[in-house]
């Protein structure tokens, strides 16, 4: 149906809500759960419930329960996840063979299948948490941006509407002038969730005051940070909230057209967004004369083609225009001259999903979460060596400790925490001493990291810090677009120096050169990519200098990762002088004579392992080099 005005929508929403309240089975259709077999679980539920209906046991089920395939529920680690509503029971690692039991117990009798709920050992005793709201992973979370993610079928408009969807847009179009909208967003203290943290209201205001025949809203869904998947989850799990946010932004600045730029690696996000746009157009939430007003707004999805630099706003604009995604100097800022030379506001996915609910519940409500300088919540993708990997949303100002050890459940296999990389290849590595730091934009930049889009990769004692720094530098060097010299050449040199470090070929003066180059790249690059690329190097050099020195001075890798820090020796007891090792050695560093044990020349050895493979008598000993004083 097509909605012609606000009253009609409000009436429809009330009808939808009245229909709610009956039994529901929510099955997580996020990437993690799908890969773990959520689809088969869904199919089994469908079959079992169909059969129950035929067997006329429906009275016991009251009404046939409603099956919903939702977006990401967050606890990817323990998928496939299944939720029973309205009780809010959460089942983990559900297999098709568990479905009968869940239907019998939970749907018919309202009981809990204990073996499938969240459990944890506390002081040697196993505790069970059957309800989602009590599970330690969820307890401290506040879901604002992810309010619908994991609770609705993202491909069903009615499910979004039943949670007051498009009501904010309807109210804005009826009651508020564009200036009032901007005022409300400014008052809410919402800042850009893509990493920069620029106040959203101010950005809109800049674009609002520029006179132009056309203006644009761009939603930046080019989530290129390795280790981040928040925006993906929202695009897949709650696409309408992005569309509504964009429409409100469009109304506020006077734009008629919007673009969503999505990574091509996210095919499901593209599919869900396109379906949502189609449905929203049919229902009159997008297109001409939205909800009977004189505001018209269209949204077009553009797929990226794989370039990290396109997350930078001027490069993203070039990419939408069909060009190479190279950044341009700012000013002029896109708010003055952006897409096709017209005023353009670029907001991140998460920023835009916050907009409808702020308009609905007010700036003061939003401000009641978070810290004075950073209002609201932030989503994080927990990954790396952490127990509960997944998607979380917490109020700004929680500590890293709460996030990693409270919600995240601590380090896998009870290893020791070493560092956490926040903000991906543009962010910094923080250490144990930062664990009690309340996370907001300002505290993180004070510590040398950035909020970034919210990727949070936990590193344990088995991770080699210089190797991680080399990994990030390899990434940014690869993704440097080549336009400006400091980034193009600087990242290359930094990578070269880091490679020397992990190969055990660097000297202490190389470390100084590395630091100096990093500072130059940071200070003189054209865009955000180059300006932030040195962050991982600079923070690790600062917080983990000893580990660099181990590699450089002692030629030792304490985490046992860097292959060059291994030593290959021949056990003279076992060696039968067959010469097989000497024949396969590519650098001819093994020598010997018949009947005398062979010897490896440590200076020449490249640690390729060929001799190890070749020896028929297991006489090659591989050992990690230790510091001399040990």
């Amino acid at each position: 149906m097509r909605f012609e005005n606000r009253e009609q929508l409000e009436k429809y929403i009330i009808e939808l809500k009245n229909k709610n309240g009956k039994k529901k089975v929510l099955i997580c259709g996020g990437l993690g759960c799908l890969a773990k077999g959520a689809e088969e679980v869904l199919d089994t539920f469908r079959k079992v419930i169909e059969r129950e209906k035929v067997e006329a046991e429906v009275e016991k089920l009251e009404e046939s329960p409603h099956l919903v395939k939702t977006g990401c529920m967050g606890l990817c680690e323990a998928g496939p996840l299944v939720r029973i509503e309205p009780e809010g029971i959460l089942y983990l690692r559900v297999k098709p063979e568990d479905v009968e039991e869940i239907v019998d117990k939970s749907l018919k009798e309202g009981e809990v299948v204990e073996r499938l709920v969240y459990q944890e050992k506390v002081n040697g005793e196993v505790h069970y948490w059957p309800h989602l709201k009590d599970v330690p992973f969820y307890r401290k979370q506040v879901k604002i941006a992810l309010r619908n993610c994991g609770s609705i079928d993202p491909q069903n408009l009615d499910e979004y509407l039943a949670r007051d969807g498009y009501l904010a847009l309807a109210q804005v179009l009826n009651e508020k002038t564009p200036d009032e909208v901007i005022e409300e967003i400014t008052k809410s203290g919402l800042r850009g969730r893509g990493g920069g943290g620029f106040p959203t209201g101010r950005k809109w205001q800049f674009a609002r005051v520029v006179k132009a025949d056309k203006k644009y809203i761009i939603c930046n869904g080019d989530e290129g940070d390795p280790g981040a998947f928040m925006d993906r989850s929202v695009m897949e799990g709650d696409p309408h909230s992005i569309l509504e946010g964009m429409a409100i932004a469009g109304y506020a600045i006077g734009a008629q057209e919007g673009y969503i730029y999505v990574r091509t690696e996210y095919p499901l996000a593209v599919k869900h967004l396109r379906k949502a746009i189609e449905d929203a157009e049919r229902a009159g939430f997008l297109g001409d004369n939205i909800l009977g007003s004189d505001f018209s707004f269209r949204i077009i999805v553009r797929e990226g083609a794989g370039a990290f630099v396109c997350g930078e706003e001027t490069a993203l604009i070039a990419s939408i225009e069909g060009k190479r995604g190279m950044p341009n100097p700012r000013p002029p800022y896109p708010a003055y001259r952006g897409l096709w030379g017209k005023p353009t506001v670029i907001n991140n996915v998460e920023t835009l999903t916050n907009v409808p609910i702020i308009m609905l519940r007010g700036a003061d409500w939003f401000r009641s979460f978070g810290t004075a300088s950073s209002a609201g919540t932030k989503t994080f993708a927990l990954a790396g060596k952490i127990k509960n990997t997944g998607l979380v949303e917490v109020p700004m100002g929680v500590t890293l400790r709460d996030l990693i050890f409270g919600i995240g459940g601590g380090i896998q296999d009870d290893k020791k925490f070493k560092a956490v990389q926040i903000g991906g290849p543009s962010g910094g590595c923080l250490t144990e001493r930062h664990l009690d730091l309340p996370i907001d934009y300002d505290s993180l930049s004070g510590a040398g990291a950035i909020m970034g889009s919210g990727g949070l990769v936990v590193l344990d004692e088995d991770t080699c810090i210089p190797e991680v720094a080399r990994f990030f530098m390899n990434f940014t060097q690869n993704e440097s677009c080549g336009k400006c010299v400091p980034c193009r050449e600087g990242t290359k040199h930094m990578l070269g120096l880091l490679q020397k470090v992990v190969k055990g070929e660097a000297s202490t003066s190389d470390l100084e050169l590395l630091e100096e180059t990093a500072q130059v790249v940071r200070d003189s690059s054209l865009c955000g990519l180059g300006k932030t690329a040195p962050n991982p190097v600079l923070t690790t050099l600062f917080y983990f200098r000893d580990e660099y020195l181990d590699h450089v001075v002692h030629k030792v890798c304490p985490a046992h990762i860097c292959q060059a820090m291994k030593e290959y020796r021949i056990d003279p007891e076992k060696c039968r002088a067959c010469a097989k090792c000497a024949r396969v050695c590519p650098v001819s560093c093994i020598s010997g004579r018949p009947r005398v044990p062979y010897v490896i020349d440590q200076e020449k050895c490249t640690k390729c392992g060929a001799c190890f493979e070749a020896c028929p008598f297991d006489s090659i000993i591989v050992e990690w080099r230790k510091k001399e004083d040990e």
Binding site: L31, G32, L34, A35, K36, G37, C76, E77, E223, G224, D225, P226, G227, A228, F229, R232, T264, E265, Y266, P267, R302, E303, G304, A305, G306, A307, F308, S319, I320, E321, G322, K323, R324, G325, M326, A381, L382, A383, G384, K385, T389, G390, L391, Q421, G424, P425, G455, V457, L459, T463, V468, F471, F472, F475, E479, C481
Partner: protein
């Protein structure tokens, strides 16, 4: 190989390209989308088609070539029918994606410097992040994600892809 490449192009006679160009109203603003569709048709961007597209859009071949070489998604070499993308994002990296890549390449019999099998069935790539960090280390076969990989699972997966083994659970 050269002959195969040529006959592939000739047999289709630019018909598909024309249809794609029409769909995007010959507008150079849509160049990336145009190249994406051409690539999904041909599995790579043949040079003569790039020149053809440039002429049709009334821009220089350098412009089209520049875009085609800028983005990681585009390939100027023929790609295999199936693309195996091994994720080397941060989470996968710290969980040992290097071994996964090595195992995939070894099981497919790829030599150093080779990314596509000689029968043009498989291309192996690394990708910065597929957003499946919670399942690290992960890889994608076409659009299917496989998580929590190890060397043994890689072998099973490749066997299955080669039509020799059982289907592999995604996790």
């Amino acid at each position: 190989m050269e002959i195969e490449k040529e006959s592939l192009v000739l047999s289709r006679q630019f018909e598909k390209v024309n249809a794609i160009l029409r769909k995007y109203s010959h507008n150079v603003d849509n160049l990336i989308a145009i190249l994406q569709e051409i690539q999904s048709e041909y599995r790579y961007l043949p040079e003569e088609i790039l020149t053809y597209v440039a002429t049709a859009l009334q821009v220089s071949p350098a412009h089209v070539y520049g875009v085609a070489t800028f983005y990681a998604q585009f390939s100027l070499e023929p790609k295999g029918e199936h693309i195996i993308r091994v994720c080397d994002g941060t989470a996968c990296h710290v969980k040992g994606s290097a071994q996964i890549l090595k195992a995939v390449r070894e099981n497919l019999g790829l030599r150093e410097g080779e990314n596509t099998t000689s029968d043009l069935m498989f291309t192996v790539e690394t990708v910065a992040c597929i957003g499946a960090c919670a399942l690290a280390p992960a890889l994608m076969v076409d659009e299917e994600v496989y998580g929590q990989m190890d060397e043994e699972k890689v072998q099973q997966l490749v066997d299955h892809l080669l039509g020799e083994g059982e289907k592999v659970d995604a996790v």
